[in-house]
Amino acid sequence: MLESYIPIMLVLSFALIFAVVMINLSSLLGPSKPDKEKLSTYESGMEPIGTARERFSVKYYMVAVSFILFDLEVVFLYPWAISFINFPKAEMVYSLIVALIFIFILFVGLIYEYKKGVLKWD
């Protein structure tokens, strides 16, 4: 079982090593002739306006909070989905209904949020 994590470990460590080596190599090997134009902030060819340290709107935070709650829903549904395949046919319907009740209760919350205008983007 622990062996099945080896690919994940390999991907993670390779990504880390690749990123660190490439960033450091490019700063080591690349020519460095900075001028004023090169050192200015790149903003898709436009002249940058204002600072990067602006306050963000609270709308983003609300979306993040809703995201975490539905993320937790997925965490609860994940073991259900894994065990679903192993059930006999009669129990499949039962477990589907159980999960639908679970989803429905949270769907009520989504409707509430929608009606309350939390997800409105204006």
């Binding site: 079982m1 965490v75 509430y112």
Partner: protein
């Protein structure tokens, strides 16, 4: 089993080192990103403990959710990203008393508890077993969990839009 021990120490050192950085970093954003390393290393420790579901939950909820929320919290606050956080000692004597007390208690627990040392068992997948239990023995807690989530959802909506 030597690999197991090596991996354990790699994750343990990673967790402790990044946790130290979280506490001592001068920049809030740096602490938040160091916390990413801590939470990830703890997820790795959970995998080594044969608790793959908890490891997945750790990554999904803490790394994917809570940490994003923290970084959002930093971004929403004015002028918090650029100030230096001073880590200095306040209330030295109560702090020393309190932390030595906790250390003594922890060492006491470490030496008096009868630790159950089992032989290394073959790791097996736990997620489907948890799912089976959720649909049979723990059906009611499973459904109640969704009501708890619903309450949190409604509560956050109430706070966000007080008027209307």
């Amino acid at each position: 089993m030597i690999y197991y021990t090596i991996l354990f120490y790699v994750f343990a050192v990673l967790a402790v080192a990044t946790a130290f950085y979280v506490v001592f970093a001068k920049n809030v954003i740096h602490s938040a990103f160091a916390l990413f390393g801590t939470l990830f290393a703890v997820a790795g420790l959970f995998v080594l403990l044969n608790a793959d579901f908890i490891a997945i939950t750790q990554i999904m909820v803490y790394v994917g959710g809570i940490l994003v929320l923290m970084i959002f919290g930093v971004m929403l606050t004015t002028k918090i990203a650029d100030i230096d956080i001073h880590t200095k000692n306040l209330n030295r004597i109560p702090a020393i008393l309190f932390s030595t007390g906790i250390t003594v208690i922890l060492i006491f627990i470490l030496f008096t508890t009868k630790w159950n040392i089992k032989p290394q068992v073959q790791n097996q997948e736990t997620v489907s077993q948890i799912g089976k239990l959720m649909l049979t023995t723990y059906l009611l807690p499973f459904e109640i969990a969704s009501i708890v989530l619903l309450v949190a959802l409604v509560g956050s909506a109430m706070y966000a839009r007080k008027t209307k």
